[in-house]
């Protein structure tokens, strides 16, 4: 758990006839991250060629994406294939399925053409409706502002048998006609069109036998009817549009089961094909290589042997063998699920290099202690935990929002931490309801005393955070030494800023500082102690640059270096390095005082809200307290979360964690699309 999962590299040779079954076994296990066989030392790599497949990966992928697109129109997002889908795998006839999909597309397209037509009709009527709403029709005796109205309104009669032709003629333009009454075989109509279309309208009207008539009295009240008519028609068209949308959806729904099955078959075939792109083949064999966690080795051997009936050659290379560079080895975390939110924080910074320490298990307690100290309140912590729990509940089945799900868990953990520290420091929504288990933080901030003889003022609180910071920095240094020892970089172990000399100087600095504090800043430790704690490591550090020079640069350049300049260069680098060590460690340590600072700010804010509430009474007082708590939960919660993260990233991680690793991404049934 403290280090990344041990990995092993497999180089395998199987018979060509077993290739498919071996591929399925590899997919079923889903543990291999393939590498190019060129990376493996082969005797005659030129004799190997890529595996040829009957179906191309891009064809499979294209058809799968088409199916996915169609399913998405009815809101279906297919689930990843399961092991049973691989077992019952049927081959897909791409041509036949493509044709079937083309047919479905054509049917949907035909309906969509009708939808487009109706949409045009809707837009036309909306144009008219907008004009009528703005300018009216002038039918009620109110004169139109004709300068701006773009509508042409006319009444007339035409033979009833020609009404259909009128409809057809007006179909392509923004126009609306309404039957006002009948007289024998002639019908009276009100026609509204755009002035700009007057020439075309005139042609259509003349072709259907239209003759203009004067407005009769009853028509004068038609304006309201017309708006109703327009709204009615729009409603009808919108309903029709919805029906057509349903029709398109129905077409897909009829095929849904088949499409879901097809998608799964295609996805499985695509994954198999993806695996085989990493294979190389000779006339009778197939070769592949890849990384997997060592713990999965035994099971994979069994599966591959079973799939090839024992006709396979498997060669294993352990990750710690000298010929493999650790940068090439993929990294898999080995943390329990409970640490997932903290692993997310680590990954956000970077992936640890293979074989180095994974800080996740340490980030959890450190992050939560820092957060708890900054946001110590039982009530507010419970609110935070409840909010986080809500997030967890709503996101638990949402694969696409995995990050938010982990974030919700992090909020739950932060809430729990706030509750624990709230009980230790005696704060319940800012009130001292129960005696604190450790010391009264609010009491210290308000100047009332803490109820604890060891921690009695703000300086004691600051000291706690400084001690905490020193522990965190030392832990970071120890991790760095472990990482360096594992990779056998001995000179770095001694001379690096985060190496033994750096640690020696840091420890010495802490002793000297505490000695001075103990003696009221009036006395230094003795000269011998100073020499031992700070002088000696500083002098030893001077060896670093000359050593580096003679090891790596000396004699490599044609130009003979000036000895004085070389020595000056050593001196400059030594001084800069010393300054960096002193100032860096000092600022890193003092940086932890922010934990106390934010804790004090949290207490001060709550005290302020209580003071404000005391200045009023009744509902207002309660309102101030509620709003104050909401503000503190939102603002302080966010600040404490960010500051705890910052301290982990910049004061802890920078001591040992380079984040240059690459995540292990095997091809499995649940691989990301």
């Amino acid at each position: 758990m403290i280090s990344t999962t041990p990995m092993t590299q497999l180089f395998a040779v199987v018979l060509g006839k077993d290739r498919e079954r071996v591929t399925e076994a590899l997919l079923r296990e889903g543990v291999m991250q393939f590498v190019s066989t060129l990376d493996v030392d082969l005797e005659e790599p030129d004799k190997l060629s890529p595996v040829e497949s009957d179906v191309s990966l891009s064809d499979l992928s294209d058809l799968r994406k088409r199916v996915e697109g169609v399913l998405y129109t009815i809101g279906v997002v297919p689930r990843p294939p399961q092991e049973a889908d691989l077992r019952d795998r049927a081959s897909v006839n791409l041509e036949r399925e493509g044709n079937r999909l083309d047919k479905l597309d054509a049917e949907r397209q035909a309906v969509r053409e009708r939808q487009r037509g109706i949409q045009q009709e809707i837009l036309k009527l909306e144009d008219i409706k907008r004009q009528v709403s703005v300018y009216g029709l002038g039918l009620s005796g109110v004169k139109l502002d004709a300068r701006h109205s773009v509508l042409a309104v006319q009444t007339g009669q035409l033979p009833a048998s020609n009404v259909r032709r009128l409809d057809e003629g007006l179909h392509t333009m923004p126009a609306l006609h309404m039957e006002l009454g009948r007289e024998g075989d002639r019908t009276h109509h009100l026609l509204i069109s755009m002035k700009r279309d007057r020439e075309q309208i005139a042609e259509i009207l003349s072709s259907v036998g239209w003759s203009d008539i004067e407005l009769s009295g009853e028509v004068l009240s038609a304006e309201a009817d017309l708006l109703d008519e327009l709204s009615g028609r729009l409603e009808t068209l919108n309903t029709e549009q919805k029906t057509l949308q349903e029709t398109v959806n129905e077409l897909v729904k009829k095929e849904e089961t088949h499409l879901r099955e097809l998608w799964i078959s295609l996805r499985v075939a695509e994954l198999c094909s993806q695996i085989q792109t990493h294979f190389k083949s000779s006339s009778r064999t197939a070769v592949f290589a890849g990384w997997l966690p060592s713990s999965k080795k035994r099971r994979l051997v069994e599966r591959l042997t079973e799939a090839s009936d024992g006709r396979c050659y498997l060669e294993w290379h352990e990750a710690d063998s000298a010929e493999i560079a650790s940068e090439e080895i993929p990294v898999q975390f080995d943390n329990p699920k409970v640490l997932a939110p903290f692993q997310m924080l680590v990954c956000n910074f970077g992936v640890p290099k293979y074989g180095t320490i994974d800080p996740t298990p340490f980030v959890m307690p450190m992050y939560l202690i820092m957060f708890g100290l900054m946001f110590a309140d039982v009530g507010q912590g419970l609110v935070l935990a409840a909010l986080g729990a809500l997030g967890v509940r709503s996101l638990r089945n949402n694969e696409a929002k995995k990050g938010l799900f982990h974030l919700s868990w992090l909020v739950v953990w932060c809430g729990v931490s706030a509750v624990v520290f709230g009980a230790l420091l005696g704060s319940y929504f800012g009130m001292p309801l129960i005696k604190p288990l450790w010391f009264d933080f609010h009491g210290i901030v308000a100047g009332h005393g803490s109820g604890n003889s060891l921690i009695s003022n703000i300086y004691d609180v600051l000291a706690i955070t400084i001690y905490f910071g020193i522990s965190v920095i030392f832990l970071g240094l120890v991790f760095n030494w472990i990482n360096i020892i594992r990779t056998r970089r001995w000179m770095e172990l001694i001379f690096d800023k985060g190496g033994l000399l750096g640690g020696w100087m840091y420890g010495g600095g802490i002793y000297i500082a505490s000695y001075m504090i103990k003696h009221q800043y009036k006395e230094f430790p003795s000269g011998g102690v100073l020499m031992l704690l700070a002088g000696l490591p500083a002098i030893l550090l001077f060896i670093k640059e000359p050593y580096h020079y003679y090891k790596h640069e000396h004699g490599r350049s044609d130009r003979k270096p000036n000895p004085a300049m070389v020595i000056l260069d050593f001196l400059m680098k030594w001084i800069v390095e010393l300054l960096e060590i002193f100032s860096g460690y000092l600022s890193n340590t003092l940086s932890f005082m922010r934990v106390a600072g934010l804790g004090i700010a949290h207490a001060c804010l709550m005290i302020s809200f209580f003071t404000l509430a005391d200045m009023t009474s009744g509902v207002f007082s309660l309102l101030i307290l509620v709003l104050g708590n909401v503000l503190v939960i939102g603002l302080e919660g966010l600040s404490a979360g960010i500051q705890a993260l910052r301290l982990n990233y910049y004061e802890f991680f920078t001591k040992f964690f380079h984040g240059t690793g690459k995540l292990h991404t095997p091809i499995s049934l649940s691989s990301q699309l």
Binding site: G69, T73, R130
Partner: protein, 355 residues
């Protein structure tokens, strides 16, 4: 007077967060590879563009979805405008005018096709925006106008009335809207430059450079298109050149005009002004289509380079706002292009060359 921190701290944080949400290039690559329009829309399901699929499904009309994108882009400017100080607001208003001018140009084109070319335009009128953008232009009346004089009158009280009036005779004699549209574009850029000149020194320097480069790119694009597709003489092209460019001098324009291989000349220009980009432009091209694609790529790279320069620089300036607008416009243009390309079944290679 407000300092840069109080003017830009909030909007800077807000826009940097929004920039992180802009679709990355790999999504556009996937969209280009999508085998159908449905598949492309499905790829957008977890993005802010998810509702494009709903609009398309409800109407069967991709243009309605595009209109929604345009409205959303305008709202974006308005939304940001709310958080700005008065001087900066003026600049955003000047930038908003580009949508108004494009909308007006669209309406005038519809009028021109209907009235002068006698073509049916009814299916195009619905995609004109009727809501006011900067000025309250009566778009219905413009679409239904009887002549340019009427349009000029309807645009009265805006800077566009005089332009329409001035170029109406040219349109009628030449049978083309080209000069009127160029004049409207000039109007946009001159008002933009005026707004930039009213900014304080730091903001002005940033804006002059970014907008200047935009003007350069627009000018380069015009020189190439007007020469290649319309074979206009240099003098005619010079009248279209927008003043206020940052790098593009008269000599470069001459050179671009005279060049047999525009891409090669542009490569020299880039090597001089943007040495960091020259490695990207080493591609040899033979066909004119590939050359044009290369030219577009060069221009896009220059724009991207300028935006990255601003984003990596001093954060509390107008630069973050302008960069966000450029990035967002590019994103929306790519979305529109890709969805249309999928709708009309364009080849993947062709689409990828346009990205």
């Amino acid at each position: 007077m407000a300092g840069p921190l109080s003017k830009y701290a909030l909007i800077n944080a807000k826009l940097r967060a929004r920039i992180s949400k802009i679709l990355p290039d790999e999504v556009f690559g996937q969209l280009a590879k999508a085998p159908s329009l449905d598949a492309a829309l499905a790829l957008l399901r977890d993005s802010v563009f998810a509702d494009l699929e709903h609009i398309y499904a409800a109407t069967g009309d991709l243009k309605s979805a595009e209109l929604d994108l345009l409205k959303r882009e305008i709202e974006l400017y308005r939304g940001i405008r709310k958080h700005l100080h008065p001087g900066t607001k003026e600049l955003v208003d000047a930038l908003l005018a580009q949508f108004e001018i494009d909308n007006l140009k669209n309406a005038i084109r519809i009028y021109f096709d209907r009235k002068i070319r006698k073509r049916s335009v009814d299916d195009r009128t619905h995609y004109v925006l009727h809501e006011p953008i900067v000025h309250d232009l009566p778009m219905d009346a413009i679409l239904n106008a009887e002549g340019f004089d009427e349009i000029a009158g309807l645009c009265g009280g805006t800077p566009y009335g005089a332009i329409v009036s001035k170029f109406s005779h040219t349109v009628e004699t030449e049978g083309s809207l080209f000069r009127m549209e160029v004049a409207l574009d000039h109007c946009y850029y001159s008002r933009l430059v005026e707004a930039i000149n009213r900014l304080d020194r730091r903001d002005r320097d940033v804006a002059v450079r970014l907008i200047g480069v935009e003007i350069d790119l627009q000018n380069i694009s015009w020189v190439i298109r007007l020469k290649s597709f319309y074979d206009l003489p240099l003098e005619a092209i010079l009248t279209t050149i927008i003043p206020g460019g940052f790098h593009l001098s008269r000599s470069v324009i001459d050179e671009l005009y005279q060049a047999q291989n525009v891409a090669a000349t542009l490569q020299e220009f880039v090597a001089g002004k943007y040495p960091g980009l020259s490695a990207l432009l080493a591609a040899e091209t033979s066909s004119s289509a590939a050359r044009l694609a290369l030219v577009q790529r060069i221009l896009a790279e220059i724009r991207k380079h300028e935006v990255q320069r601003i984003l990596a620089g001093y954060p509390f300036s107008i630069g973050i706002i302008l960069s966000y607008f450029v990035l967002k416009r590019d994103e929306l243009q790519k979305i529109r292009m890709l969805l249309n390309a999928k709708q009309y079944g364009r080849q993947q290679e062709r689409i990828e060359s346009l990205l």
